[in-house]
Amino acid sequence: MTSPNPEPPLSPTTLQCTPRRASAASDHRVQRAHYSPPWANTSIIGIAGSSGSGKTSLSHAIIRELNLPWVVIMSMDSFYRPLMPEQSAAAFSNEYDFDAPEAIDFDNLVEKLRQVKSGQKANIPLYSFEKHARLDRTTTIYSPHVMILEGIFALHDERVLDLLDLKIFAEADADLCLSRRLLRDVRERGRDIEGCVKQWFRFVKPNFHKFVEPQRHIADIIVPRGIENKVAISMVTDRIHKTLAQKSRLHQVELKRLGKVSEDDPLSANVSILHHTNQIRGINTLLSRPDLDREDFIFYFDRLTAILIEKACDIGLTFKPCRISTPVPNETYRGFALDGEVSAVVILRGGSCLETGLKRVIPDCRTGRMLIQTNFRTGEPELHFYKLALDIAEHGCVFLLDPQMSSGGAALMAVRVLLDHGVSEERIVFVVYMAGKMGLRRLMSVFPEIRVVVCRIVEDLERRWVEQRYLGC
């Protein structure tokens, strides 16, 4: 035992340090593998045709037939240019030409299409026909595998054509088009019949011959009779199914390739494995016993999760120094205060098993959700739904929760979604109970700057059994 040190705090251990920039430089050398999610290189199908030719109902018929969450429709109506005051007055007296290409903001459209095509998030403007103006809000399109672009000028602009994978022209008799348009404008857009007829002969019909009809010649498929044309619809949906299957295959190949790329790498230093104390080994033993009561399973799993989240806090949170006064007179303490908000995102459905533990550590933690399900036939992870805090990009740290990781497909997808919503890589902490090394290596080779907290390293490709035990189904 050494003698007591009578010196007060603030001692020599605080020390000078010469700032070192080497770490910043070495960061750039981090090896990074490329991963494209299954929604990258989105297939875009353009459907053009005269006003009232049934483009919208054709698009809806195709979507209905497919019945898949990854196919969306985008209407070119969203891209009407906002009107100047005098144009707006003209529009209300049906004197404004909505059926000329000039009425469409093609630059904006091309920008959004490029974002969708590259797998990014795109904010689509909303247009009100009652007010003839763009609304303040936008709607977000993210991660469709296939998008249908419909509008009278869907095949008009060269730049749009370059982005289309399939070009369709919907054809219908002119009198049918007129009657449909009359019904729609009067019922849905609050117009009167005279105004509509005036518009038709003044703008719609001449523009059809001048701009719309020529698109017929560049279309891949011309669909007469709209939704009655079952053969044409099933041709198109077959084609989309093939495209989707192809995308899924490519994604699988991509995942396998990532596994190979990183097969021999040691686990990244950013992966923290929980120290296996006696208690943790004991709890793991209990949790792995198939004959453990569900009640006990939940109790021990929650207990372990709280430890896991404490560890994630140690790793991911940032603090700023502060000095506070204690209740003892004239005494202060030099400690830390949390710097920046911590939030969580659970990968459903398994991630919800970690929420009880999360709430024990951070009771008011804001929690986003992402439903990623593995297709049992193909083994392909699929993003079905997500809802994130709007200001998630500003949070100091985001915990991503999933009880188990095998191939790493769901984790790769979830991290990609967070990055696309503005969360920077080094602020993400992936918290997982069990993981295989292959999955971890894949994840870290693509996103080397995220942190991972894991309790147990298990064999590769272990079946997801934890959530089944915890949730009881």
Partner: protein, 252 residues
């Protein structure tokens, strides 16, 4: 215990030093500094790892501006870390099982029975954390108060499980100042036949003096603490400390 002993507790390396705290991947200059636990050399004292997170939790409960709800929540979080650490000092036996995916797991199984004993009233505030880790644990109580006339601690009441001598005891008291009442509680446990080495004393903030007293009187009792503070003031309050734990938890 002599007053000279209190003035110069043994086994103290450095009182309340500064530390750069942060994850290992960050260079030192990016880690902020805070006052960390006094290092002591007594082999029976286990101090929780001084992580930035633990320092932030301690900052919350030390701050006199922290309201009661937050005080309760954050002290409970540290208490849970203490219980988890203390449980790791209990013996285990090897236990191999087959997992749901038909793999072998070389695990362990917990050995021996435990019970909690709280020193009233502040010690009872740590029972919640104990229950969160060990659901149906038995909890005994000991009431020790300072005698007005002699100003020495005096035992008023104890109620312990009948088979306490067969159990590992987690003794709960959040503050270890001079250690007077905690040492008396250990006398009580010993008189009921609990071996010294089967007692784990859990406490949030200790003084170097209290830790030294324990090391001298009961060197086999394991102390698990979150922080060894700078010292004691003339009224024997831990400084900088956090005030009266019981008052802040129950009545203030």
């Amino acid at each position: 215990m002599s007053s000279t002993h209190l003035d110069r507790p043994s086994g103290v390396l450095q009182r309340a030093p500064s530390g750069h705290l942060g994850p290992s991947y960050k260079p030192k200059e990016e880690k902020p500094t805070a006052t960390v636990s006094t290092e002591v050399t007594h082999s029976n004292v286990t101090i929780l790892p001084q992580t930035p997170q633990l320092i932030a939790l301690l900052t919350m409960i030390r701050n006199k501006a922290t309201n009661r709800a937050d005080f309760i929540f954050y002290s409970n979080r540290i208490n849970r870390l203490l219980v988890e650490e203390a449980l790791n000092h209990l013996p285990v036996l090897p236990h191999t099982i087959t997992t749901p995916v038909d793999r072998t797991y070389n695990g362990v199984k917990f050995e021996g029975k435990i019970c909690g004993v709280s020193i009233m009233r502040a010690g009872e505030a740590m029972e919640q954390a104990l229950r969160e880790c060990c659901r149906s644990v038995r909890i005994g109580k000991i009431l020790i108060q300072r005698d007005e006339e002699t100003s020495k601690p005096r035992l008023f009441y104890d109620k312990l499980p009948e088979d306490v001598s067969q159990r590992w005891v987690l003794l709960l008291d959040p503050m270890l100042a001079t250690g007077g009442s905690a040492l008396m509680a250990i006398d009580v446990l010993r008189s009921k036949g609990v071996p010294e080495e089967h007692i784990l004393f859990l406490n949030l903030i200790a003084s170097p003096e209290g830790a030294a007293n324990f090391a001298q009187r009961y060197p086999k009792v394991r102390i698990v603490t979150a922080f060894v503070d700078q010292g004691l003031n003339e009224k024997n309050y831990i400084v900088p400390g956090l005030g009266d734990f019981g008052d802040r938890y129950y009545t203030l």
